[in-house]
């Protein structure tokens, strides 16, 4: 008897805005128009790269853990059917 697998991940889309000294006014105006007020969180490029690395680590872990789950299901299912 095998446990029910967890429901698939359902991520929501997000949008990054690249802000430079040349386009910051335009980007701020876009934010204000989109959200109704000028409030946002900011991230530097190096921190974005760190976040990208972290996302890859999470993805790696999910895939490796998935393979372990598949292994255990394969091994225990073949033992159950004997």
């Amino acid at each position: 008897m095998q446990p029910i697998m967890p429901r698939e991940i359902n991520l929501k889309e997000l949008q990054w805005l690249t802000v430079t000294p040349d386009n910051w006014e335009e980007q701020l105006a876009r934010i204000e128009e989109q959200e109704g007020e000028l409030v946002f969180l900011a991230m530097t490029i190096p921190d974005y790269e760190v976040m990208a690395y972290n996302m890859q680590e999470i993805k790696r872990y999910i895939v490796e853990l998935k393979d372990v789950v598949v292994y255990y299901r394969k091994v225990t299912t073949s033992e159950e059917t004997e």
Partner: protein, 131 residues
């Protein structure tokens, strides 16, 4: 003379009965041993098959882990090869959609990986789909 003959016949009959009895017991024992041998061979074969399955599966996992790590290194190599800060400052209109596409691609691949896990039990779910 006839008494000796009768005695010999009696001995022969008794020894025949003895050997016939022994033969039956040994046949039954032989059958039992053959059955046990058959069962043990089946058990050994089953264990060997399980061992082969586990060994092959573990090797597959090792290879997959190496592939995953290589894929991760290839992706992160992009940041090593390019100075994203300079690029974003020089061409924000070019970088912004690429970053958004990159983020979407990563999210889509994570969703796809999780979908493969969910499909292992034909889509049965404990919890309803999130909105």
């Amino acid at each position: 003379m006839s008494k000796i003959l009768i005695g010999v016949i009696a001995v022969l009959l008794l020894s025949n009965y003895f050997f016939w009895n022994q033969n039956n017991k040994l046949s039954a024992l032989n059958q039992a041993f053959e059955l046990r041998d058959k069962e043990q061979k089946a058990a050994i074969e089953s264990l060997q098959n399980d061992f082969t399955l586990q060994t092959n599966s573990l090797l597959e996992i090792q290879n997959r882990n190496q592939e995953i790590q290589q894929e991760m290194n290839r992706y992160l190599d992009i940041f090593k090869r390019h100075d994203l800060t300079k690029l974003a400052a020089a061409k924000p209109g070019l970088i912004q959609p690429r970053i958004n596409k990159g983020t979407k691609d990563v999210f889509d691949s994570i969703e796809e990986d999780s979908r493969n896990i969910d499909s292992l039990d034909d889509g049965l779910q404990l919890q309803p789909t999130a909105n």
